[in-house]
């Protein structure tokens, strides 16, 4: 096995990878950046649930939409399938940074389990929780997480101390 092959296997993109081939089709949004929502199976009626958060660029006079700090300005269209209606409580969509340091409440899913929103975070998680009836909208979810997904950018992670950089001193780069 070559060094390159080792690297690819280590990265999980060798033979048998589930990365789908992308072809030119009618435009439906950049599928590459679509976020798959995966059930936690913690909530009755959600065992078979699947969902997608489609990502598109917020309206802008420019070819690509950025916030003032350079982050992408994104519109999200979230849809969940095969999710039973909640017996009690309300399904609520949230966005959070990967370290959960900031949470934004997008709002309750509609009757068709859909909601739209926007963000200017480059890396984030989408969370669908089941919030108790009558609960005041809080700053973060209190009920169980039903589905969650990660922005495509979440697949970008440190190489320090791994693969070709295993001999690099991780501490130099902030990792221990």
């Amino acid at each position: 096995m070559t060094f390159a092959t080792l690297l690819l296997v280590a990265a999980g993109i060798g033979p048998g990878s589930s990365v789908a081939e992308c072809t030119a089709v009618d435009p439906v949004g950049p599928a590459y950046y679509a976020i798959e929502l995966v059930t936690t199976r913690r909530v009755p009626g959600s065992y078979m649930a699947t969902g997608t958060a489609s990502v598109s660029y917020a309206a802008s006079p420019f070819g690509i939409s950025l916030a003032e700090d350079g982050s992408y300005a994104l519109d999200l269209s979230i849809g969940v399938e095969r999710l039973a209606a909640a017996r009690t409580g309300t399904y609520v969509a949230w966005l959070t940074r990967p370290d959960l340091s900031e949470v934004v409440r997008l709002g309750p899913l509609d009757a068709e389990h859909r909601i739209t929103g926007s963000t200017a975070w480059n890396k984030f998680l989408v969370v669908i929780s089941l919030e108790p009836d009558g609960a005041a909208p809080g700053e973060r979810w209190t009920g169980p997480i039903v589905l969650r997904g990660m922005s495509r950018s979440g697949k970008m992670h440190t190489m320090a101390g791994h693969g070709p950089f295993q001999s690099e001193p991780c501490a130099t780069f902030g990792y221990r």
Binding site: A11, I13, V28, P30, S56, P61
Partner: protein, 561 residues
């Protein structure tokens, strides 16, 4: 495309490992030689194992014929040249010297100026330009954005032959559209344009009411240049380096300099005519928090003016923006981005200072603050577009896939690229892999425009359209290619609307000649094929263009014009 044979001493490359700025002391190269030096890298970015001794598989090249830079004349600031209908202008490309980051650098200028002269013309006028080449390689002048006669479009092998050293070519220019346009070479832009061969054409409107009133106008060219402690990083002799991502500079330039300054009075509305001439960098321009109003782009005003907080401008694009400076003090103009660090797997905020605007305590007179607050609706633009609306919803006439293939890249580059594609940004605002990028040349990387209906690629594509035909071109930037990247796509000689991005209709249209196609996106252009001739369309990242990413098309019967 090779340079002309140059009397340079090649082959004296120092071992790259001995030149890495983070690991070793670097001995300056001999003054009369050109040697590869390790590309500058961010201090926190490690060198790839196994790459220490690699250099690009092409000879290094620097301008100036090996002559002491001090022997060349200092580049002069840009001059404004007002050209009237029927005027003749002499334009000469020559070798000049410019001090950047404290280093005397040999560059190229038009009429010894960097940027080249600003040609200010009336809409509808015609001007003759007698061009002479006095640089050390063949060149041409492309008049970017002009819908004029294809024979004077400056594309070698299409409208004209290359202009060899000491030879001349006479261009006839027409200015059918109001706005900001620019000129640059169409031979080895990665070198010639990067070295200072660029200038603007500002075409004035027929009516003072075309734009809202402003207290002053500033024509601003954004650029970057790649230097280290010894000066300019060499270019590839017979093929561009940085073929994967384009040559990102590490020093930002505004109108060719690092110290752009402007002094205004409090409450002034300044109209900036922005052009990005960088090889690859897309800027996100922030005016220190001052409110911005987007007025126009490449070939027209917008249907509606828009208030924004920053201006995203890709290579070769232009934007006309009004900025209100309503507080005394200093506004720092920045390129504010979220850069990518693939090593750490993170985005990180990065700010480059582009210049500064100092606002006095004196009240601007007259005040245009009220008109600045008014976002105008340009019905004339919408009415011009109305004739094209019946074409908006029809199927695309042509479909292009944007991708690439590679051969003989270092194995480590191939492996790292495959890992990188676990996530690729919609657009690259920094070079997160300067070493691998530098090592890639157009010998190893072929960027591809593939006609999805015929399978033809790049210059094998030979589209033909009728004069006046309205053509929908769908571009798909394949995110699963070996190294996906954004592409600022330029169509010569015509104008187009960016109709849809990923199926989302653009509700505020503007006529363009260059528009960005983000990674993974499907973008529909509606092209007004109204200008007969033989034309080009290509990615305007210079290194992508010279790695094959171009096609030719014909409109009408060029022979009759």
């Amino acid at each position: 495309m090779r340079f002309a044979v140059l009397p340079l001493a090649f082959g004296l490359a120092l071992p790259a490992a001995a030149q890495h700025e983070h690991h070793h002391h670097v001995a300056p190269p001999p003054a009369d030689s050109v040697a590869w030096r390790m590309v500058p890298m961010p201090a926190n970015m490690p060198m790839m194992p196994g790459m220490e001794s690699l250099v690009p598989p092409t000879a290094p090249w620097l301008p100036g014929l090996g002559i002491d830079p001090m022997q060349f004349p200092e580049a002069e600031p840009r001059q404004v040249v007002r050209v009237e209908d029927g005027d003749t202008l002499d334009l000469t490309a020559s070798i000049v010297r410019k001090t950047i980051a404290g280093k005397p650098i040999v560059m190229f200028g038009y009429n010894r100026q960097i940027p080249g002269p600003l040609l200010r013309a009336e809409r509808g006028s015609k001007v003759i330009v007698r061009f002479t080449n006095d640089i050390e390689m063949p060149t041409t002048v492309h008049w970017h954005g002009l819908r004029h006669d294809w024979r004077f479009d400056g594309v070698p092998g299409v409208g004209q032959a290359p202009v060899e050293r000491k030879e001349s070519f006479t261009y006839e220019l027409r200015f059918p559209d109001t706005g900001i346009f620019w000129y640059h070479p169409h031979i080895r832009e990665d070198v010639q344009q990067d070295l200072g061969m660029y200038g603007n054409m500002l075409v004035d409107p027929e009516s003072d009411a075309w734009y809202a009133p402003a207290n002053r106008e500033e024509v601003v060219i954004l650029d970057d240049i790649l230097v280290d402690e010894y000066g300019l990083l060499p270019y590839g002799d017979d093929s561009p380096t940085h073929a994967l991502m384009g040559r990102f500079g590490n020093v930002m330039l505004v109108n060719g300099d690092t110290a752009y300054r402007l002094e205004v009075d409090r409450g002034e509305v300044v109209r900036f005519f922005l052009t990005n001439v960088a090889n690859s960098r897309t800027f996100n321009v922030v005016f220190g928090g001052a409110p911005i109003k987007v007025v126009a782009s490449d070939v027209s005003k917008f249907e509606r003016e828009v208030a924004v907080r920053s201006v995203v401008i890709a290579p070769a694009e232009r934007y006309v923006v009004d900025v209100l400076f309503d507080r005394p003090g200093t506004y720092t103009i920045t390129n504010t981005i979220q850069a990518v660090d693939h090593f750490r797997g993170e985005f990180f905020p990065h700010v480059d200072t582009l210049g500064a605007v100092t606002v006095s305590g004196r009240e601007a007179s007259p005040s245009f603050a009220a008109s600045f607050a008014d976002l105008r609706v340009n019905t004339d633009v919408s009415e011009d577009i109305d004739a094209f609306r019946p074409h908006f919803d029809r199927a695309p006439d042509r479909r292009l896939e944007l991708t690439l293939r590679h051969r003989d890249l270092p194995q480590i580059t191939v492996a790292m690229m495959e890992m990188d594609t676990l996530y690729v940004s919609p657009a690259e605002f920094n070079d997160p892999m300067p070493e691998m990028n530098w090592l890639s040349t157009s010998k190893q990387v072929e960027w591809i425009l593939r006609d999805l209906d015929t399978g033809r690629e790049n210059m094998d594509i030979d589209w033909r359209f009728g004069e006046g035909e309205v053509v929908k071109i769908r571009l798909f930037n394949n995110p699963k290619s070996f190294h996906p990247m954004n592409h600022p796509f330029h169509i010569h000689g015509q104008r187009f609307l960016v109709l849809d991005v990923d199926g989302v209709r653009n509700t505020n249209l503007v006529w363009k000649d260059t528009a960005i196609v983000p990674v993974g996106s499907t973008v529909d252009f509606l092209v007004d094929m109204s200008n007969p001739g033989k034309w080009m369309a290509h990615c305007h990242i210079a290194e992508h263009l010279h790695s094959g990413m171009m096609l030719g098309f014909e409109v009408g019967d060029p022979g009759t014009h």
